[in-house]
Structure formats: C-alpha cells, structure tokens
C-alpha cells in the first residue's frame, strides 16, 4: 500500500470544498436540531437550492457571483418559510416528514426534463464559474505546503469556503451565547414554558429554520464552486451523511459540526483508499466494487453506534443533548 499517497489523499480532504460544504450544512443542522430541536431531514434540498440558485442566477440572469449567491440564499430562506409555516406549530416529527419530502420534490424538479431549458435536467449545469474565478485575488500558479498544493483557483474556492465556515461558526457561536440563543435553547426543551414568558415561539423557530437553511444553502454553493451541479448529488443520502457529520462532532456545539465534517471525510477517504487496497491484497475477501460500497455500510453502522453510545458527539455535553426527552 502506498502510505504516502494515502496520507496525501486523506489529508487533502480536510480542506476539500466538499468537507467545507458539509461543515456549513452541519452547522445549519446544529442550529436546527442541536439548539432548537427542529428535525430537518431535508438538508439536501436546502443545499440543492443553494447550488442551483447560484448557478442558475449566473447563467440565466447574468448576475455577478456575489449577487447570484445572494439570490440563492434568499431562495433558501423562502424555501424554509414555506416549509415552516404549516409545520412549526405542529409536533417536531411533522417537520421531519415535510422536509424529507420537500427535498425530494426539489430534486425531482431539477431532474425532470420539463424545465430542461433552465436546469439541463439530469445532466446538470456547468460553465458558470467565470465571474467567481475572475474575482480571484490570489496570485497565479501552483503553491502550498504538502499535502495541500493547489493552483490559484483551487486555493480561491478553498479560502472562500474556509472564510464562510469561519463566518458561519462565529455567527452561530455568538448567537448561541446571546439572549436569542437562550430563547432558542428554552424552546428546545419546553416551548410552552417559553411561550408563557411572552416570547413568540413560532417566530423564533422560523428564524432558526431560515438561518440553518441558509447555512445549508451556503454549503451547496461551496460545492458548486468546484465544477458543476448535478441533481443526483442532492439525494437523501446526502442529508444522512450531513447528519452523521453533525452527530460525530456534537449536535449542540459550534466546533462539533466542523470537526465532525472533517473527520467524516477523513475517514471516508481513508476507507475509500484502504478498503479496495485491502481487497486487492486479498486481506478482505471481497471485490474492489464491494469494497467501495462497504464504506457506506460502515458509516451507517457508525451512525447507529454513535446515537446509541455517544449521542452528544465528540464535543457535546451529555447533559445538554440526548435523544430521550
């Protein structure tokens, strides 16, 4: 086994745009689930709206990248609003069902040939990068320190993603230590107690749903910066992988979702590299392709074990978050 190559590949994932996108989405989910107690099972839908909102605004409206991103975030906020109005007065489970279904609806709308003119259906969209890449302030060339060596565009999207993650983490952290966070945490535990103190619980839950949804959409945008957007990326398993990253780190924490995402992709790429290698060497009695699938099975089992044995994640406080009410 090429240990050097394995290490380089695995460490690369720590600041991969996909990892950063997961971190943003998981932060949004932390706001939803960890702090407010909202069960959002439609993370993939929010991310899809972020990615497509950005790509389509550039391609069809001819907007510069920053305005296109703004349009994408507004679209995600509206999506949250539409999902929240009928469900946030109901029990938490209803939001879970509605978000799960809505995310699938979004994906079908993006896949169907009916809107081919705008979405290019199953093939997705590409070639919307000029505006963003044209604003790259970084010097040309390929540079970095091992194992992180990229060209200026590779760095530009990573730096941009890291800045977004840092900004989002700061906003979540400072909100959660504020009186706003106090109300939100109170709602997570007992809505009626908070209502009895004169707080508009519905309004706060809506703010939380929109805020977390916008963070997930930012994640979608970061993913779209790499090459193209395709609808098949935004399946329900994306939602579950973001959940795994969140629970790995700790749902009611700020650094948990970030470190959880890094750890998730670190392990995923490690397995992606190691399992087929082990299969090739005859250590694992399976084929190459089976080895590729095996990592998802491992992730599923890990998620189950996590929820059962360490529901607070790596960084969480057990007192603050358990799945049993």
């Amino acid at each position: 086994m090429d240990i050097f190559g394995l290490l380089q590949n695995t460490l690369n994932w720590l600041i991969h745009p996909q990892t950063l996108a997961y971190a943003l989405a998981a932060l949004g989910l932390a706001v939803h689930f960890g702090y407010t107690g909202l069960l959002n099972m439609g993370v993939a839908g929010f991310m899809a709206i972020g990615a497509y909102g950005y790509a389509m605004s550039v391609l069809h409206l001819g907007l510069p990248w920053y305005l296109a991103m703004l349009v994408a975030l507004v679209a995600a906020a509206i999506f949250a609003l539409i999902l929240g109005i009928p469900t946030l007065r109901l029990r938490a489970d209803y939001l879970a069902i509605v978000t799960l279904a809505a995310a699938e609806v979004v994906r079908y709308l993006l896949t169907t040939t009916v809107f081919d003119e705008w979405t290019n259906s199953a093939d997705g969209l590409a070639q919307y990068h000029d505006s963003f890449r044209g604003s790259n302030p970084l010097p040309e060339g390929t540079y970095g320190i091992w194992p992180w060596i990229y060209n200026e565009q590779g760095w530009w999207m990573r730096v941009f993603g890291i800045l977004l993650v840092a900004g989002a983490a700061w906003w979540v952290w400072s909100l959660m230590r504020s009186p706003w966070g106090r109300v939100i945490k109170g709602i997570r535990e007992d809505e009626d107690a908070v209502r009895a103190l004169g707080k508009n619980v519905f309004g706060y839950k809506m703010q939380s749903l929109i805020f977390g949804g916008v963070l997930a959409a930012l994640g979608g945008i970061v993913i779209s910066l790499q090459s193209a957007v395709v609808p098949s990326f935004y399946q329900t398993n994306l939602t579950f992988m973001v959940w795994t990253a969140l629970l790995l780190g700790g749902a009611a924490t700020v650094f948990g979702p970030i470190v959880g995402s890094m750890l998730f992709w670190f392990v995923m790429s490690l397995l992606d590299y190691a399992l087929p290698a082990l299969a090739n060497m005859g250590i694992l009695p399976i084929s190459n392709i089976q080895a590729g699938i095996l990592r998802f099975i491992i992730v599923g089992v890990a998620l189950m074990l996590l929820v059962i044995f360490r529901p607070q994640g790596l960084f969480g406080n057990k007192k603050e978050l358990t799945f049993a009410k």
Binding site: S174, P179, G181, D192, A196, L197, G198, N200
Partner: protein, 297 residues
C-alpha cells in the same frame, strides 16, 4: 380557630371586593379579569362552562375545586394556551379571546404550570434571565453583537439575582435547573414569572410537592406580590393555606363556578362543603352544579 390565635402575624386581607350578594358570578368593584360565557369541552366532556366570572384586582384569589373540576383548563383558556368552544374574556380591559399565549404574557398576565416547567438544561440564572421582557439581544440581528446588549444583560442579571435571593435560590444560580428539588423548581418557576413584571400572576398549584419547610416562605412570597401591587390567581388544594392568604375564593366543580366569596363565608357554604370538602359524600356532585335536581338523587 388557628388563624385567630396567630392574629398578630395574620396577613392583611383585602376586603370589600364585590358588589351585591356573594353568588357565583358576582360583580367586582375593580375587576382585572372579566370572563363571559366561556365553555370548553373535550369530546362529550364539558371541562369548563363558566357563565360569568370576575377576578378582583390587587387581591389574592384562590380557585379551588376537586380534581377534574376544570381549574387547569380555565387557566389554559385565560392564558391563551387553549381555545374555548365559545366565550370572551377581558384582561385589564383588553379582549383576550383568540390572542396567542405569548401575547397575553406580554400584556402582563403571566402563569405557571401545575407540572413545573423549569428549563432543566438551562442554569437557574439563565432560567431567570429568560423571563425578562424587551431584551434587545433576543433579536436575531442584534444577538451576535454582545456590545449591543451586554449592558441590559447586566441589569437583568442584577434583577434576577435580587429575586433569587428573595426566593432563597441565590446559592443555586449556577446549577442546572434539572438539579433542583421539585419544590425549588416551583419556586424558580414563580421567580422566573416575576421577571416579566406581571400585573396578574396565575399560579397553578404552587404548593404541590413543595417541602412543608418551604411552604411558609412561598406563602410569604405570594403575599408579597399583592403588597407590591400585583394581582394573584392561584389554584390550591390546601384549605389551610387558602384560608390563610386568599382574599377571595372561587369554587369550581364539574366545570362550573359553584360558589365564590371571602374565605370564611365560602368555607361555611354548604355547596362548597358538598362539592369540595366532601363532607356529604352521599350527595351527588351533580346536585351542587345543578346538573341533577336534588329530588332525583
């Protein structure tokens, strides 16, 4: 009577609250709540059916009645946590029917719950601070910038500490509320409610589960609320306590108001003895509420 023996430290009662005869629905000189034709049924069961009820201002009113009489349901209706089949009520002249719970609280009518709702995962001090109204930092856009709300937060903290001291919870301020005893949680919930600067405090069984050693101080707190100008409406089963601190007593049975008056008269009222104290167990409750004519029994 024990209350006479301890006359020296007996609380000062508000008197002369009503107009006319002491019958259910009697008008009050200065009512803070006026309810009219409030009915709430669950399927076939009529939980609350109040024709007319007025709660006197700046007095302590006890709402008593057997389990299942509809006291909690009436609380839920008045505070906007439940919706009636029909009926109106005014709080301080404002029509409150159909108003969501958080708005009634904003208007100055705060309540506690029979099953305590201290937020166990927040500290005692955070619980208290949550109660304060008009916090700038509770806005999404202001929250992240501590400089914009920190000063107000300090003021709120000071006020919270003062109340915690009064309720003898100051030593516990850093503890999670989940670590408190049941009685301490009741105290915390009441103290937290006071953080909203209410004009009317509605307490649903504030004494239930409270250690007898704490009861006296809780009574003093409730009396203190009246002294500082608030109105108290509370549900209680302990007759001794009702007699001791209530200025006015409203008796419910099977959803209806069956009697009201000052504690002494109400305790002597045969309808109350029947309905609540169960002295005449042979008489059906339905007779008291008028559901069944006495002769039929």
């Amino acid at each position: 009577m024990p209350s006479n023996e301890k006359n020296s430290n007996a609380p000062k009662k508000a008197i002369d609250l009503h107009v006319g005869e002491m019958v259910p629905g009697v008008a009050k000189k200065d009512p803070i709540i006026v309810a009219e034709g409030v009915k709430r049924s669950f399927g076939g069961l009529v939980a609350v059916d109040v024709e007319h009820l007025e709660i006197p201002r700046n007095a302590i009113t006890a709402l008593i009645g057997p389990n299942g009489a509809g006291k909690t349901t009436l609380f839920n209706l008045l505070s906007g946590f439940d919706k009636p089949d029909h009926g109106d009520w005014k709080f301080d002249g404002t029509n409150l029917s159909g108003i969501p719970a958080f708005k009634t609280a904003k208007l100055g009518q705060v309540r506690t719950f029979q099953l305590t709702k201290a937020l166990g995962l927040l500290t005692v001090l955070e619980n208290m601070k949550l109660g304060a109204k008009g916090q700038r930092g509770e806005s999404f856009w202001v929250g992240p910038f501590k400089g914009l709300w920190n000063k107000q937060e300090q003021e709120i903290e000071e006020k919270a500490r003062g109340l915690l001291q009064r309720f003898k919870l100051d030593a516990k301020e850093a503890d999670f509320a989940a670590e408190l005893s049941g009685g301490q949680r009741k105290l915390l919930e009441m103290a937290r409610a006071l953080m909203t600067d209410p004009t009317l405090v509605m307490l649903d069984e504030p004494m239930a589960g409270v250690n007898p050693a704490l009861t006296q101080s809780l009574l003093d707190h409730i009396l203190g609320l009246k002294e500082s100008g608030m109105t108290v409406l509370f549900v209680e089963h302990d007759m001794h306590m009702v007699r001791h601190i209530a200025d006015w007593v409203v008796v419910m049975a099977e959803g209806k108001i069956v009697a009201e008056g000052d504690p002494e008269s109400v305790m002597k009222n045969p309808a109350v003895i029947d309905a609540y104290l169960g002295a005449h167990q042979d008489v059906d409750l339905g007779v008291v509420t008028g559901r069944i004519a006495a002769e039929d029994v």
